[in-house]
Amino acid sequence: MSSLFGRLNGDVTPFTEAFNHPSVSSLVAAGAASMVVVGAVALLILLTWFRLWKPLWRDWLTSADHKKIGIMYIVLGLVMLARGVIEGVVMRGHQATALQGGFLSSEHYGELFTTHGTIMVLFVAVPLVVGFINIIVPLQIGARDMAFPVLNQVSLGLTAAGAVLLMVSLVIGKFSTGGWTSYPPYTGVVFSPGVGPDYWIWAVAISGIGSTLSGVNFAATIYKCRAPGMSLMRMPLFTWTALCAAIMLVYAMPPVTVSSLMLALDRYLGFHFFTNDLGGNMMNYANIFWMFGHPEVYILALPAYGVWSEVAATFSAKTIYGYDSLVIATMAIAVISFTVWLHHFFTMGQSTSVNIAFGIATMIIAVPTGVKVYDWMATLWRGRIRMTTPMIYLIGFFILFVIGGLTGVILANPTIDYQVHNTLFLVAHFHNVLIPAVLFGMLAGIHYWFPKLFGFRLDERLGRWTAYLWIVGFCLTFIPLYVLGLMGMPRRMATFTNPSYEPWVLIAGFGALVVLMALIMVLVTIGYSIRYRDKLAVPLGDPWDGRTLEWAIPAPAPAWNFAVIPKINSRDAFSTEKEKGNPYVRPQSYDDIAMPKATAHGFILCVAASVMGFALVWHIWWLTALSFAVIPVALIARAFVRETEQLIPAAEIAHAHDAWLNAVWSTRGVTRDEEDSPANRGLAAPDGGPA
């Protein structure tokens, strides 16, 4: 039996656990597992009921279109965000009652912060960021797709495979309790013999390979596929941040792949990289992990900064202030972020001088970040500002992110870090940078670019309320954690005994509920806007009087992006054309366009990688071998496919493009005063605001 099913048996689900040992904690676990099962079953039923299987397969899962792949990334990120936030709320709820012991077992609390951290960083922030890069970069540089569209599918497949493993771990077996960093020797086989760390290892390693490949793809795309005239220093700032993030992905993801596979070798084959005996050295793990871990936060933050640059310029109707300095700051951050990793373990026992060097490097990285904040503020200065939803997020970001950055500079001082290391002060700090920068940035990006993808705007009134809720909820949840940290409350602790913590813990618990409301409001906004999409429609493609190339095409963007590849003569290319007075010109002629054909390649690799990860976790060796074998077979088979492209005839493109141009010419453009009214069909009229 065990050769057939490995470590699997009937007792590994939370349902059996809840049945045998009923308690609040085990019931919560069973409830979470049933949510996964019910959600999956409901999805299957809905797809069947509405006969969506075929469109799903044909238009999405096998599509090599960068926009669709990007949308799938973002959907993945939002689904995982829902799980991550719910876990955060459950943890805060538990701690609110923790003086009386709380309702979760400490084992369960451990699982929660581990899955929460892993999910938020690798399966929420990464998919959202990678999704936006996928969608926006080709549109901004005047390309028709990524350099390697099928590789792009594969990246998505591998990332999704990691997420699948995390979801499966809710239902079958238990996840690791070792934190998102998974430090050995605790996560070694001696102290954690169960399947938990194995789930972590394979989820991280498989999705990490996907992210590396994304980095390769983005870098090649930005270097090689720009439209004629789009020199590097004419690229929009989002593309610049994407380029730096791409290079960072290429260099920062391999370390985590290696460290998790080394941990796997220790666990599966008895190697001694990080064990307590026979020369193993866990400090090496900390080093390798954070060589990934620190750059990773900037991989997430840089593209979010890119969104802020676009948002600040567009909604102030001004050219971005200090383009050159923003580019240099982006590059500086990308480089310096590889030189600070040691600040995550100042207390590990290396010499003072090493600590000082890394402390100083850490403080230095705040400088280019500060430059950027000033540039954005100067962009707003004397602009014609509209307080749209993305701008509210931007203002929230300005204030909150600066606080988070400053607490980071405080932590960069090793002597201070010794005092607050492993306390909630740190938890407050990193949420304080990740949420206002990355999460708000992505939410702002969703509002900003949604119309480009789907052809209608998101409702502004609901959007603004959502933004305010996020900001308030964030403050209530995380500012108290600074206080708690300074009072000495450790992180990753299920319970506490000091009653003076309680008021702050209660405030944080209440705040988490506000955050949950904000998340629900995101979904409400999207749902409401879909319902009233006719009133919000902006088919002409330029709802915000945009400045960069992506606003010069219809909404939703056609499969081929650009009917004719544009020639670029300036920064803010579309703005320049508008200033010249003739942004919409009918091309003299149209050509056939070759686009990548749909293929099931990425999907096959996704299934194979998911099954392989699952089989490895449960030691089902025959299945491991079988699913592993699929990978080279699929790759080799792909090499023999001859026709990988399909031609879209020029007539079809001409027909679509001319229809759109005619609509543009027969529509009245709106000024910015009418931006938020049904009159806005996506055609901007010049208005008399300050330049």
């Binding site: 350099a147 390697f148 590396t212 490949l213 980095g215 390769v216 793809n217 870098a219 090649a220 270097y223 090689k224 596929c225 290429v250 260099y251 993801m253 391999p254 370390p255 792949t257 290696v258 460290s259 080394m262 070798l265 220790d266 084959l269 008895g270 190697f271 001694h272 990289f273 005996d277 026979l278 020369g279 193993g280 050295n281 090496n284 390798i288 060589m291 080279p632 080799i636 090499a639 023999f640 001859r642």
Partner: protein, 211 residues
């Protein structure tokens, strides 16, 4: 005004003017592959660093030491095999670039594969003899890092052999189509890259271990 309509696109191997579309078509792909190799280089870099940090007495943990296990003669033979295979790989590319001689390309690829297989045979023989003398990766941190580094290189060579076989089959079906040309260029980059890594292993692991 562009005097050379076929600029040299990337360091490494180019097809040149005679190959027209294939020359340009290989640009983005080869560039992407370069980037990919750089990320692979980071993986090796970390394993090199881990190895370098695991050579002290603590990491050897009372187990066998380099001098007990390494066989310089065998390692030198492996090195000879691998360097020679790089040469023959280059010959395959030249046969493609000048003359587009299909059978000669195939011949050189087969020779490359044989040399690679020779390398692997000696490497596995060494592993077996090390294991027979208590030199298993489970014995100490030093041995763990040794097997990880050298083994990963061996794994790359194995994948390279699989790649050669695939290329031979592909050439059989598609002759020297544009896609085949680009893939051959990628393969040769990969194969030379493994050579460079091996030089590092030879010096850092074997030579340094025996001094």
């Amino acid at each position: 005004m562009n005097p050379n309509p076929y600029p040299k696109l990337h360091p490494g191997l180019n097809l040149g003017p005679a190959h027209g579309v294939a020359h340009e078509g290989s640009e983005a792909v080869l560039f992407g592959f370069w980037i990919f190799l750089m990320s692979d280089l980071i993986i090796f870099g970390i394993l090199f660093a881990t190895y370098a940090a695991s050579t002290g007495p603590m990491a050897i943990a009372g187990g066998p030491r380099p001098t007990d296990l390494f066989d310089l003669v065998s390692v030198s033979i492996q090195t000879a095999f691998l360097l020679a295979s790089s040469l023959t790989c280059g010959m395959a590319i030249l046969a493609m670039k000048y003359g587009e001689n299909v059978s000669r390309v195939k011949l050189w690829l087969v020779v490359t594969a044989l040399l690679g297989a020779g390398f692997l045979t000696f490497e596995l023989r060494d592993f077996a003899s090390m294991m027979a003398h208590q030199g298993t990766p489970m014995r100490s941190a030093w041995l763990s890092s040794l097997y990880a580094l050298v083994g990963l290189h061996g794994l790359h060579i194995t994948m390279g052999l699989l790649w050669i076989l695939t290329m031979l089959a592909l050439i059989q079906v598609q002759r020297l189509s544009n896609k085949v040309k680009t893939r051959l260029l990628m393969f040769s980059l990969y194969w030379h890259f493994l050579d460079v890594i091996w030089i590092g292993i030879f010096s850092v692991v074997f030579l340094a271990g025996l001094v």
